[in-house]
């Protein structure tokens, strides 16, 4: 630590404010930083912060793009309370997150553990499993999914091949449509799996050997060593997965043909936002919906972090 820093610490402890020179000593790179961060600052102001604030303003207006925004105060937010389609979209999205995320992470973790036993051909399996993650968010796969689960689709053909006659349209039925999307999400387990694999690699072998020496069998070793040491990574995957799933759009849009149907069973939150903003041109309301999304994600992430106290073990 430099003399300047020591002196600052002493001053701070004594309650004295730092002098300008001391401050400059602590943050000597203001000018170069401005230069290096110029794109970032511009981007933040014009494309992120600015729009966030404008979005907030618009959420208090009625704006149809063709006429000036009209201030309506809390009307949009009041409308949310009684908006049954909004409630439906929240339910659909929540179901997707609550069922899809644990399921996907569970499969990813399970396969990672199996793969981690030093299997031959690991790179092959890893790549093969990763491929769906790579392709899964594309329009091509979403359209494929439509054709797999449609009335004349692949699934019904397979069922027919084993003797079950099915003309049910899985994507056309409100009961089963969401399940097909959840299945698509679970199908993309490769990405979290790779992260789990890397995490498993980091667990020292000696721990297992020691436990094995002391007579612990596989399941006990898993519970006592693997799981606790993996919790930071599970947590990381969980936080990311929740955030990303709430923003999910493409699959629902393509499979439902943009309608959110049948009977709004695929009306994901972002799809509803899109419909309100870019189909019906109710941009004020869409902005309010966007802010609600932001708040929800923020709250969920905060809850995630708070809960992590109870189950995540950091190796400090």
């Amino acid at each position: 630590m430099s003399i300047a820093e020591l002196r600052s610490m002493a001053n701070a402890r004594a309650g004295r404010r730092r002098t300008k020179a001391e401050r400059r000593a602590l943050t000597p790179d203001n000018k170069p930083a401005l230069l290096f961060l110029a794109p970032f600052i511009l981007g933040a102001a014009v494309l992120t912060l600015g729009p966030i604030l404008m979005s907030l303003y618009l959420s208090f207006t009625d704006f149809n793009l063709l006429q000036d925004p009209q201030w309506v105060g809390l009307d949009n937010y009041a409308r949310m309370v009684g908006d049954t389609r909004l409630h439906q979209s929240l339910m659909v999205t929540l179901l997707y997150v609550v069922i899809g995320v644990p399921l996907q992470l569970g499969v990813a973790l399970g396969l990672a553990i199996l793969l981690d036993k030093g299997m031959r051909g690991l790179p092959f399996y890893r790549s093969a499993f990763y491929l769906p993650s790579l392709l899964g968010s594309s329009v091509a796969i979403a359209m494929l999914w439509r054709l797999i689960f449609g009335a004349n689709g692949l699934l019904n053909a397979l069922l027919g091949a084993i003797g079950i006659d099915s003309t049910q349209s899985w994507i056309g039925s409100p009961e089963t449509s969401l399940s097909t999307i959840i299945l698509l999400h679970v199908w993309m387990f490769g990405s979290p799996m790779v992260i789990f694999l890397a995490g498993l690699r980091q667990i020292p072998a000696e721990l297992y050997e020691a436990a094995a020496t002391d007579g612990a069998h596989a399941w006990a070793r898993f519970r006592a060593i693997t799981l606790p040491l993996l919790t930071p990574i599970i947590f990381f995957n969980l936080v990311l997965a929740v955030i990303n799933s709430f923003s999910s759009f493409t699959q629902a849009f393509i499979v439902s043909g943009g309608t959110g149907g049948p009977a709004d069973s695929l009306l994901f939150y972002t799809l509803y936002l899109y419909q309100e903003g870019f189909s019906s041109f109710r941009m004020g309301y869409a902005s309010a919906l966007a802010w609600l999304l932001l708040i929800i994600i923020g709250v969920l992430t905060a809850i995630n972090f708070w809960l992590s106290k109870f189950w995540v073990h950091y190796d400090d």
């Binding site: 618009l58 399996y125 594309s138 359209m143 694999l197 072998a205 721990l207 050997e209 903003g277």
Partner: protein
């Protein structure tokens, strides 16, 4: 939770780091277990890849034979779906591939440029508001694009630049992808500061240090950024849907979606064929960049 004190008997067996204590009995059991594991894995692989393989196979079948046919066995190679699909949407599909390519290329260059600069500032410089700025950057990782899309849309509409590539490429040049800034910051933090010191003693300023010393060493992070940017932008549907409205400006995802537009005429075989075409670049990138991809995912996962 307490860790067991390591036993003094550490065995290293030929099967790998995790050896077992009783090699003899374990060997026969583990051979059986391994075989079972492999079988299970193969089953999962087949189920997992089956949809994609079916799509590939169907694209080579004549239109009438696609549905009701779940088998993966090809009897003929019909290329007509590809020729038909290439021109099915009015503009040749190559235009859409080109459009996607332009946007992807612009995005990659933009990200490499702006995110590395920002990462250097966060990782190596000390400046006023550094902590809040870094925290802000992390928070934007959580920010769904839907919150900012309406005002951005209006902004670009005012500038008359809707329905062009600008709204999609400019953000990349302005370091809006916090994920890559974060990735590079972590990476730079792992590079020894002595290198900087040595260069500074030789009289180098921040510019020289960054461009001549650090940047060359950051190749893995840059490679990861390139690959991820490619994949994400190539697959990006929402922003492209919002900002691109003329058919000649369409990118691959938007063009594919036109295949199910209720007003037009189309065929499934052609759609499959073009879907396969759209996936090929992803697979190529994956093939070449696998190493960086996997490493990149792993490092970000592990803080």
């Amino acid at each position: 939770m307490t860790t067991e004190t390591p036993s003094t008997r550490t065995l290293i067996t030929p099967t790998g780091r995790r050896g077992s204590v009783e090699p003899y009995r374990q060997q026969s059991r583990s051979r059986w277990a391994t075989a079972l594991r492999h079988a299970l894995m193969i089953v999962v692989v087949v189920i997992s890849l089956y949809p994609v393989l079916w799509m590939l196979v169907s694209s080579l079948r004549p239109e009438g034979e696609i549905f009701g046919n779940p088998s993966l066995i090809l009897t003929t190679f019909e290329w007509e779906n590809y020729t038909h699909g290439w021109t099915a949407l009015g503009t040749p599909f190559g235009t859409y591939l080109l459009n996607s390519g332009i946007i992807v290329l612009g995005s990659i260059i933009g990200n490499l440029f702006s995110c590395s600069l920002a990462a250097y500032a966060f990782a190596r410089l000390r400046f006023r508001f550094q902590r809040p700025a870094f925290a802000y950057m992390l928070v934007t990782l959580m920010l769904p694009i839907h919150v900012v899309i309406v005002p951005q849309y209006i902004l670009w509409a005012q500038l008359g630049l809707n329905d062009s590539f600008w709204p999609l490429i400019v953000p990349k040049f302005l370091a809006t992808d916090a994920f890559f800034i974060f990735l590079m910051v972590q990476f730079i933090r792992g590079l020894p500061k002595e290198l900087d010191e040595a260069a500074r003693i030789d009289g180098a300023g921040h510019g020289r240090i960054f461009f001549q010393i650090l940047l060359p060493l950051m190749t893995p992070a840059l490679a990861t950024t390139t690959i991820f940017t490619f994949i994400w932008v190539w697959n990006d549907f929402f922003s492209q849907l919002i900002f691109l409205t003329s058919p000649t400006n369409y990118t691959v995802p938007i063009a594919l979606r036109s295949f199910i537009d209720a007003q037009s005429t189309s065929s499934f075989g052609a759609m499959f064929a073009m879907s396969v075409v759209s996936i090929i670049p992803l697979i190529l990138i994956f093939g070449f960049g696998q190493k960086f991809l996997i490493k990149g995912i792993a490092t970000t996962g592990l803080k």
